[in-house]
């Protein structure tokens, strides 16, 4: 039984991390007032660029560099469209979704279904991995998971406890006020959108460089949308996003195990569980019956034009 709990827990952590990079990237982007609906497309571009690099060079370091650069370039284009040209963010996001899905399939066509020799392997953290249950769940993971353990507290600290974090929150609430204070709204929005897209691309790389060691078209399988829904669920807080991702990952994995332990129930019911949990969680965290403010940045999705003030 304990082995089962460890296995479900460890798998839930891996699943959670693969969507958390994207969710945290999107939190930063939305906190800056820019909504990016193209997460799935950018994840796929990250996944294929990382896979192609590792396929040709056998270097995970170069692959991660390629992933980050791919995300950053896409972020730059997205920022140009939404910040400089002030195009509709929803339309641009959908365009990126389709563009990324199509282009990744095109450039990865020749390496579809081929396995690479190199991928991120699990590393046991000395001493910590010996802690009963928790050690095996949290400290026998790969490098991308360990990086996330640092990114979560760091991003919470940055957003809520630092001056740049305060500016970031203001950027999504009232960019005009920041502009008046002499802070360059456009440059900051560019920076956060580029950072967000780089993080989203890493999420894609988790799938081709850590979760598996092959590429196939559309293999993110809707994870981008789960990451997107996590942002609202988490109330734009990376800590809650981590909890939500673990919840979603845990329920997904639990469903498969329940097929063995409760075989009488139709398996479609188990497949439905994570989505039902997401709907319930979204209602609880964002429903209008709540007295608390939903935490959605007030200027999210709104064009900012200096001349228009």
């Amino acid at each position: 039984m304990m082995a089962l709990i460890i296995s479900i827990g460890a798998a839930a952590v891996v699943y959670a991390v693969s969507i958390l990079y994207a969710a945290i990237g999107e939190i930063f982007s939305q906190r800056a007032g820019i909504m990016n609906l193209g997460i799935e497309g950018i994840m796929l571009m990250g996944a294929v660029s990382g896979f192609l690099t590792v396929y040709h060079t056998n270097s995970l370091a170069l692959a991660m560099l390629a992933v980050i650069c791919t995300g950053a370039i896409l972020g730059l284009v997205f920022a140009f469209l939404t910040v400089t040209l002030q195009s509709d963010q929803t339309v641009c996001g959908m365009a990126f979704l389709i563009f990324g899905s199509g282009l990744s399939g095109f450039i990865g066509k020749k390496v579809t279904g081929i396995a690479t020799a190199v991928k991120f392997h699990d590393i046991s953290i000395p001493l910590l991995h010996k802690i009963p249950v928790i050690g095996k769940i949290f400290f026998q993971q790969d490098l991308l998971v360990y990086c996330m353990y640092i990114i979560i507290p760091l991003s919470i600290f940055y957003i809520y406890k630092t001056r740049p974090g305060l500016i970031l929150r203001a950027l999504g609430e009232n960019p005009a006020a920041l502009d008046t204070a002499g802070i360059h709204v456009f440059a900051l929005r560019y920076a956060y959108v580029i950072f967000g897209c780089a993080m989203i691309a890493i999420s894609g790389a988790c799938i081709t460089l850590s979760y598996t060691n092959f590429w196939n078209e559309g293999m993110t399988g809707g994870k981008g949308w789960i990451a997107f829904s996590l942002v609202a669920f988490s109330r734009w807080n990376p800590g809650f996003a981590a909890l939500g991702a673990l919840l979603f990952g845990g329920i997904s994995i639990l469903g498969i195990n329940l097929q063995i332990y409760l075989p009488g129930i139709p398996t479609q019911f188990y497949s439905m569980l994570p989505y039902a949990a997401t709907v319930v969680a979204l209602i609880i965290t964002t429903g209008s019956f709540r007295k608390q403010h939903t935490a959605e940045p007030a200027a999210l999705c709104q064009k900012y034009d200096r001349e228009g003030r």
Binding site: T112, T212, E217, G218, I256, Q268
Partner: protein, 371 residues
């Protein structure tokens, strides 16, 4: 104003010329195609696939089979026009069909059962293009299906011979008749090797989901299962087996290179003999759109054994069973056969009809699971 008027007139004139040119070409092409006698050098074949043709799974198996049939008949590879990533909806299928029709194809092969309804409608309106479609028998289309349970019987048999325990695993995708056929074939093969063999079943409820397939394999491995069968499209299950010291039978295509320490051998769809027959009938002008192929034997093929992990005596026994299946000595769905609810499906001494096999709605006695 004058300049504007001239520009507009020029644009209109150019568009008219372009359209005239297009229609002229198309007319000539149609005439030429009609005049030319169809033979193996000039037959044009269209293929519509739901993913890319090198997806490492179903589409690759279909594409490779088609190329093999063409090669055998001496048809140049360039005579095959492929449209990939065609969604299973009316607009996408109609669009692909029209594009292939404009290329002058004589035969269209639909590589996904989801195309059947739309292709049936289109084929009914145009008898010049023969359409062949995998899946159930549908009006206006040459239908085909493979007795995958035969290959899966060998898979279950090999796993049961090698497994140190009586319990095997099976990771399945979506619940439909051919998938249930694969599970049942696997379980019956296992029972043939070991009368006490049981098969624990997990469903992904998806045709392609790397996460869920990985978890399916891990779930079975956590149950202490070392040998499993699969009916899933990605290499996630073999790779998960390899990472956890378990073994499996590959699916769709030969998966040995993807997980050389885990794949004993692979079940491979081989549509080539069916395609060869269909192409020949089209070339000879004898294509019958009411024909339905339901083939086993070499169509339900297995790859070469992974010599490093499959002992020679197991290889010999599997090949013997393969021969017995081909000769009819072993009837996979022969009686007495019970489902896992205790109902008798086939009384002793009888064999299940092809209709019932092809549309099966049961899991056999030694499967632990439901659908």
């Amino acid at each position: 104003m004058k300049k504007k008027l001239i520009s507009i007139l020029l644009v209109v004139a150019m568009a008219a010329m372009l359209l005239t040119g297009c229609s002229g070409n198309s007319g000539n092409q149609t005439k030429d195609t009609a005049k030319a006698k169809l033979d193996y050098s000039n037959i044009k074949i269209g293929e519509i696939t739901s993913l890319v043709v090198n997806d490492g799974g179903w589409c690759q198996a279909t594409h490779q089979s088609l190329l093999a049939a063409m090669k055998e008949l001496g048809i140049p590879e360039e005579n095959l026009k492929v449209i990939e990533n065609v969604a299973e909806d009316q607009v996408s299928v109609t669009n692909a069909y029209n594009a292939l029709a404009s290329e002058g194809v004589n035969l269209i092969v639909g590589a996904s059962a989801g195309y059947a309804t739309f292709l049936s409608e289109l084929a009914g309106k145009n008898s010049n293009i023969i359409v062949a479609q995998q899946g159930d028998q549908v009006p206006n289309l040459i239908g085909y299906q493979i007795r995958n349970y035969e290959g899966m019987f060998l898979a279950g048999y090999a796993c049961a011979l090698m497994s140190p325990t009586d319990t095997l695993g099976f990771a399945a995708s979506m619940s439909e008749a051919s998938v249930r056929g694969a599970i049942n074939g696997y379980a019956l093969g296992a029972k043939y090797a070991n009368p006490n063999a049981k098969v624990k079943l997990v469903w992904a409820n998806s045709w392609y989901d790397v996460d869920i397939e990985t978890q399916s394999a891990k779930t079975l491995i956590n149950q202490g299962i070392k040998y499993m069968g699969m009916e899933a499209s990605s290499p996630a299950i073999p790779q998960t087996c390899q990472e956890n010291g378990a073994y499996c039978i590959g699916y769709n295509v030969d998966m040995k290179d993807l997980a050389p320490k885990a794949v004993l051998f692979s079940y491979m769809w081989n549509f080539a003999p069916i395609y060869k027959d269909i192409i020949t009938s089209v070339v000879e002008g004898k294509a019958d759109t009411s024909k339905y192929y339901y083939e086993g034997g070499e169509c339900a093929n297995i790859s070469a054994f992974n010599e490093a992990i499959v002992p020679k005596d197991v290889q010999d026994k599997v090949l013997q069973v393969k021969a017995d299946l081909a000769s009819g000595k072993i009837k996979v769905f022969g009686g007495e056969l019970k489902d896992n609810k205790g109902n008798i499906l086939v009384p002793a001494g009888q064999t299940m009809s092809d209709d019932k096999i092809n549309t099966q709605q049961f899991l056999v006695e030694n499967v632990i699971g439901s659908f």
